[in-house]
């Protein structure tokens, strides 16, 4: 699966909203099997970059290819900072995603149940999704994404709205998803999480991708001044 669509190559990516240039001249490659954390100050363009790579935003300039092809493959998923659940049960939410993805009706329930079991929430599968706690909803969102068996998973600040216990659970699940073969790209401002999780860092500064570095090197000896300031906590 991963061989078919990765590496994802972005060249000269730029995106402009009115007067604001949110991304400029971004060149990057996402190789299969990576665990990538996208870091940067507030407003540096992390969320915009993720959305552009995932296809939610259309770049003003530049190209994105998947294993050399321009066609955007479907085998990707995204989990947002605040989980978005339909007004139905947790199980039904996962089944819905499977349905859109083309899963046969007869298989949906079984696959959905399995996904929910993997995130440890079988006991609340039949509860109304929106009545669950924030942490539980986020785990269901992960189950939903995981059930689609994506080659590439984007996560936009997945733990930022959660308390530490829930955040820990989410981190564990994301590690499991990666271990199962999905390439993961995550934005976060939780440096501890980035340090534990990532093997590669993309660092954004005012819309420019200024560093693409293996994680260890980034945290011990960042190349750019902005990155150093960021790690030192000087940048917001």
């Amino acid at each position: 699966m991963a061989e078919a669509m990765l590496p994802l190559d972005a060249r000269g990516l730029g995106i402009r909203f009115g007067d604001v240039q949110a991304l400029r001249d971004v060149d990057l490659a996402i190789e299969a099997g990576r665990r990538i954390a996208v870091l940067g100050a507030n407003g540096s363009g992390k969320s915009v970059l993720l959305r552009t790579l995932h296809g939610l935003l259309v770049p003003t300039t530049g190209t994105i290819t998947f294993a050399g092809r321009a066609e955007r493959p479907r085998s990707q998923a995204m989990v947002f900072q605040r989980p978005v659940m339909l007004r139905r049960t947790a199980l039904a939410n996962v089944e819905y995603a499977l349905g859109i993805n083309g899963t046969a009706p007869a298989d949906r329930e079984q696959l959905a149940r399995r996904a929910i079991a993997r995130v440890g929430l079988s006991h609340i599968a039949r509860r109304q999704a929106r009545a669950l706690s924030g942490g539980e909803q986020q785990r269901i969102a992960l189950a939903r994404a995981w059930a689609l068996e994506p080659a590439l998973l984007f996560l936009d600040e997945p733990t930022s709205s959660l308390d530490p216990a829930a955040a820990g659970e989410v981190e564990r699940i994301v590690q499991e998803i990666h271990a199962a073969g999905t390439t993961v790209v995550m934005t976060t401002h939780n440096l501890g999480l980035a340090r534990r999780f990532a093997d590669e860092i993309f660092f954004l500064d005012a819309g420019r991708l200024t560093e693409v570095t293996p994680a260890e090197r980034f945290f011990s000896a960042p190349a750019s001044r902005e990155a150093a300031l960021f790690l030192a906590g000087e940048l917001p």
């Binding site: 959305r51 995932h54 296809g55 939610l56 479907r74 998923a77 995204m78 947002f80 978005v84 339909l86 007004r87 139905r88 819905y96 995603a97 859109i100 993805n101 109304q128 929106r130 009545a131 689609l148």
Partner: protein, 234 residues
Amino acid sequence: MSDILASFALAVRLIAGADRELRRIVSLSLEVSLAAALMACAIGLPLGAWIAVHRFRGRRVAIVFLNALLGLPSVVVGLLVYLLLSRAGPLGSLGILFTPTAIVLAQTLLVLPMVAALCRQMVEDGWGEYREQLTSLGVSPARAVPTLLVDLRFSLLTVVLLGFGRAASEVGAVMVVGGNIDGVTRVMTTAITLETTKGDLPLALALGIVLILVVLAVNALAYALREWSARRHG
């Protein structure tokens, strides 16, 4: 005053005894209003939802036009439908004028803008909430319409109820296209008008009480639905 009290007492007796004429008028009213509400929703809900999720040239004009139709005076609708259905008019040979169908048609046209405008607003808000997630899952705007309509089912049900209430309260248009024919197109509102002008208060009062009860019940139901949905879904 004692006249009115006496009429009131007679009215209560008519209701309690399920007076035959009263029953006939009430059931016809409920039938046509329900049919009109359903038709208005069958057209208006998908229409409102479609406008909400699609970007097209002239979208803003469509929305403004839809909202403007909310203020359309009902007697104008009555006149338009009359001209349409009159034997001298384009649809005359259908022979629908002065039948319950004409009433359903007029009420549907009256309720349709309300349903479409409300639905558009609700779906647009819903689409705002869900757009990124649904797009991420591969749901196109067109495919999103049924999903959103189902997701908003409780809110939309209250829209249906409001539409029903509006249809049931209509007098002018119904009088014009229905003709208030005894036993055929006489509904609660037109019957109240007739009986009041005849000075025959007991039947008018009885009908008025029933009509108020219907409207109250509809609004209470809509309120209860909203509350239940909020508790269930958070």
